[in-house]
């Protein structure tokens, strides 16, 4: 059951290519492999924490107090403060990782993949363990798609692209083709 969930979240419902969440960093940080890896790692780290935290807050704070309509504002605050906290924690205790993630950590606050997954977990009425597993699998799917895409974009830089198609335009068409290959997983789960 959990394996099914993991496969579904990584491939079938890939967060970037099938659900269209987190596309700004997808296009913004995919020009270089190095930045793509940094972003992918930062997302895995924060998304798992955020998934757990928001699940706890929703089910133990908002739901019993009938404050479900405050979900959006509560989640975004949790994510923003979580990112700040993680940043401070890493800076003190794991400086190596902190330096590696660099600018990508604060950027995650406005990464709709993180926010989107926390909302999806609630909408699908996942249990605690399911939320944890799904958050992790979605993040891995994000990283996988981002790294694949960055690799392709580095190659495209060397190709001669017609002028109007350059940069974002060709990147989007490329993303469409990657998305098509992920599309083949549909129907598996």
């Amino acid at each position: 059951m959990y394996i099914e969930l993991i496969v579904a979240c990584i491939f079938v419902n890939n967060i970037l290519l099938a659900q269209f969440l987190g596309n700004c960093p997808f296009l913004g940080t995919s020009k270089k492999m190095e930045t793509a890896l940094g972003m992918a790692m930062a997302v895995v780290f924060v998304l798992v924490l955020a998934g757990v935290m928001t699940w706890l807050i929703f089910n133990y704070l908002l739901l019993p107090n009938k404050l479900v309509f405050l979900r959006t504002i509560a989640f975004i605050l949790v994510i923003a403060s979580l990112v700040q906290f993680v940043e401070m924690f890493l800076k003190k205790s794991i400086p190596g990782l902190y330096a590696g993630l660099g600018i990508f950590l604060p950027l995650i606050t406005t990464n709709c993949a993180v926010f989107g997954v926390t909302v999806l977990n609630i909408d699908k009425e996942f249990g605690f363990l399911q939320s944890l597993v799904a958050s992790f699998a979605y993040a891995v799917g994000f990283g996988l798609a981002l790294v694949l895409f960055a690799g392709l974009r580095e190659r495209i830089l060397l190709a001669r692209v017609p002028k109007p198609l350059q940069d974002t335009s060709i990147a989007l068409v490329t993303a469409g083709i990657i998305s098509l290959s992920f599309y083949a997983f549909r129907g598996m789960v």
């Binding site: 596309n23 504002i73 335009s169």
Partner: protein, 207 residues
């Protein structure tokens, strides 16, 4: 160059039209444009949030301490997103369901936060309102256009309404022999359609 309300309004319509020129806020652009109806609905919801948050941020720009401004902006934006969410759930339930997770996601839409940070926190109320409205309408038109293109290719015709009003119905415009290309309304088609629209826009010189 003196800033006038008219220029701030019109720049959002063409020169800096959000999803194409600024390449921001792509998630809803790709996610909800499976039909013109969804595209326009999403665009209008975003316009409302953009306009209100721009006005409020501009009003409070001298009160908000610069150090925590981003957090303040996000809270202001989130408040209006909740308003939109509740109103749509009450009066446009069907649209609300088909837009799904993308309505709460307006809160992390880079365009809304970007305009608050780049424009409303530095300019007066009237200018900020014009900026927000212009950007919002530009965003709505872009989403509607992309949705229309995808719906036409994917299903052969256009039909729907705008928030329950203005119903439109355009059966097949390509003739009976046309086989709808389902690719266009599926996920991969979103990327390709947006990429090609961007390419078309690059072909038209901006002055």
């Amino acid at each position: 160059m003196a800033k006038s309300i008219a220029t701030e309004f019109t720049k959002g319509l063409w020169k800096e039209v959000p999803p194409f020129r600024l390449v921001l806020g792509l998630c809803p652009v790709l996610g909800v444009t499976t039909s013109m109806k969804n595209g326009i609905g999403m665009g209008l919801a975003t316009t409302f949030v953009l306009l209100c948050s721009n006005i409020l941020v501009s009003l409070l720009r001298k009160v908000i301490p610069p150090k925590v401004r981003i957090a303040c902006f996000i809270i202001i934006i989130a408040t209006f997103v909740i308003v939109v969410e509740q109103v749509m759930a009450a009066f446009a339930y069907e649209l609300f369901m088909s837009l799904g997770v993308f309505i709460p996601l307006i809160v992390v839409n880079c365009i809304v936060l970007g305009r608050a940070e780049a424009f409303a926190s530095k300019n007066g109320v009237a200018l900020s309102a014009a900026d927000g409205l212009g950007m919002g309408i530009g965003f709505t038109v872009s989403l509607g256009l992309l949705g229309a293109v995808r719906e036409l290719i994917g299903t052969g015709g256009l039909s729907g309404d705008v928030f329950g009003f203005l119903p439109y119905h355009l059966p097949s415009i390509f003739g009976a022999a046309f086989q709808p290309l389902e690719f266009a309304v599926q996920a991969p088609g979103a990327f390709v359609a947006l990429g090609l629209l961007l390419c078309l826009m690059n072909l038209i010189p901006s002055k």
